[in-house]
């Protein structure tokens, strides 16, 4: 059987422009190409060094500081190991109360924001025309630029006695935890809408159509198809609202009436009372809450949507 040899009819003599044959890449490129670990090292070293040297070290130092105490008169840190700060946290009812209150407020804010963000994001991503969608995104993003403090003070005005809320006939809850929840929900809403919107944009229309085609009405489509697919986006937005609320101490000062939250305790002890060790110990509460939450959520893939 003939092993076919393709015709070599003069083609082999083809000449090509030497400029095209010359090696193009510089030796550095060649080295980079060959050494994968070198490339990875170059990419990873700067960001990793930044995070480790600046952030991890700082957090570790904070943890260590929480095991120290402060000398009351000189206000100097006394570097002998002690669990006193944690004992204080455990023994005093007030820390438990504040922790529960803070988590409660953060949860309420998260739930409200998600509940509001879902239909809005849905309207933006799946109902509005592309042009309207773009305008809505701008409308949602713009309030981010009115300073946080100004917005909180505006809420103080809105909720004041005889203020716009009462004036409009809706009534005002007055200053207190409800006001904190409303204000914080307001402030972080855009940060929740955005990831939910992004997640919705990634859900192909055909899935919704398929569900309708199979006999599901709109409510069922939302419940059985849209919502499960949005979980990562919802979690991403939820983490944002939750953690930002949990760390806030300014809103509660302005509209929170006589209440205090964990952020206030950390702030007062670190910034004011100059008891950094106690502040560090209190800070461990939100750190533990967040780390547990993040670890639980990591598997859902939500962390990539922040």
């Amino acid at each position: 059987m003939a092993t076919s040899t393709p015709a070599a009819d003069g083609r082999t003599g083809r000449t090509t422009d030497p400029a095209l044959r010359a090696p193009v890449a510089r030796p550095g490129s060649r080295l980079l190409h060959r050494l994968v670990w070198l490339r990875l090292g170059l990419l990873l070293s700067a960001p990793l060094a930044w995070m480790l040297l600046i952030y991890v070290v700082a957090l570790a130092a904070l943890l260590i500081t929480s095991l120290w105490s402060v000398d009351s008169l000189s206000s100097e840190i006394d570097r002998t190991w002690t669990l006193d700060n944690f004992r204080t946290l455990v023994e005093n009812q007030v820390y438990r109360d504040v922790t529960v209150r803070t988590i409660g407020v953060a949860l309420a804010v998260t739930v409200i924001d998600v509940a509001i963000a879902l239909p809005i994001a849905f309207y933006m991503a799946k109902v509005a025309s592309p042009r309207l969608r773009r305008m809505l995104v701008v409308a949602v993003l713009t309030p981010l630029w009115a300073s946080y403090l100004v917005k909180v003070f505006a809420w103080r005005v809105v909720l004041s006695e005889g203020g716009p809320a009462e004036w409009s006939g809706l009534g005002s809850p007055g200053y207190g935890l409800t006001a904190v929840v409303i204000t914080q929900a307001y402030i972080w809403l855009p940060y929740v809408i955005l990831p939910v919107f992004a997640a919705l944009e990634r859900v192909p229309d055909s899935l919704l159509e398929a569900a309708g085609d199979l006999g599901a009405n709109s409510g069922m489509v939302l419940r059985s198809v849209v919502l499960p697919l949005l979980v990562p986006g919802i979690l991403a937005g939820g983490i944002f609202a939750f953690s930002l609320t949990m760390g806030d101490y300014i809103t509660v000062n302005i509209v929170g009436g006589a209440n205090q939250m964990l952020g206030n305790l950390v702030f007062v002890n670190a910034g004011a009372a100059n008891n950094l060790p106690l502040a560090a110990a209190i800070a461990m509460i939100p750190i533990v809450v967040m780390v547990v939450l993040l670890a639980a959520i990591r598997r859902t893939g939500a962390l990539e949507n922040l």
């Binding site: 159509e209 569900a211 085609d213 199979l214 006999g215 599901a216 059985s224």
Partner: protein, 361 residues
Amino acid sequence: MSLPTGADASTVATSGDAAATAAISLRGLRKQFGDVAAVDGVDLDIADGEFFSMLGPSGSGKTTVLRLIAGFETATAGTVWLGGTDVTRAAPFERDVHTVFQDYALFPHMSVLDNVAYGLRVRGIGRKDRRGRAEQALDTVRLGQLGGRRPHQLSGGQRQRVALARAIVLEPRVLLLDEPLGALDLKLREQMQVELKQLQRDLGITFVFVTHDQEEALTLSDRIAVFDAGRIQQLGTPREIYETPGSAYVAGFVGTTNLFDAATSQRLLGVRAEHAVRPERLRITPTSAEPTTADEIRLDAVVVETIYLGTGNRVHLRTDDGLELVALEQYTGSLDSAAHRGDAVTVRFARADVVPLAAAP
């Protein structure tokens, strides 16, 4: 619509009666997207149990017609009848048709079984009952074992079958399939074609099948509608479409063809109108091997290229007066082609095999 061919009869034969009895009837259906008339006046009756294909190039409106039938789009004008009921304004979930989407649209967060059971679930059928039926549907598409997997753990062909199972579990009278085989590779595609056809016949479901693969359409369908620019160009059985194309457009789109323009036809046939002849009707013989009969046309030509196809050879020819022809040499007992690159040959074909085309619309 003014196609003079016999095949056209079925396009025009649309009475109120037909709408009442056909599985699907479309009347004066139009869909406008801004300036574009995606569907531009379609009248069509599809009979119960028919395997009906819509064939046409990209953008010709096939998907839009399907979406109008399924209820994902609202018609700009015209009506859609399903089993004798006007459903033009009904929501998708109110229509007794189901769609197999080109991208399958399987729910990624559900197992295969849950995907298949979805339609039963939204109908409020109990967990156990729907499980049983879903498993049975999966068996039908020979995926009985894979119910526990997630869609992303399946191959393209398997996904396609899940999409099918998800639709047939609801025992619809009509199934709409939008290029369901488009994403598969050739070998798998051929297998799936056979399975689809079998399924359709076994279940007795009306299939409305969208494809732009003419071979697929010819192989599978009871009838074919060839679309162009939002209109049906020709409607007929595969054979009618292939052998008596109503226009140059259809002749060119379905299968390979040798087209003769009016001038050439005048010269060869003495008729000043477009004609076409299929490559397999051309025979290649040594120059002037036989005398010409009155029934036969004979042209001297040179072989430009001979391409081995396995089942035969495709021979590209150029006649002495510059006409380009393609002939299909089929296996007829001998392995070797008579035509080698550069050979001078004679091409012959029966006058009867040359079909007249309507003037292009």
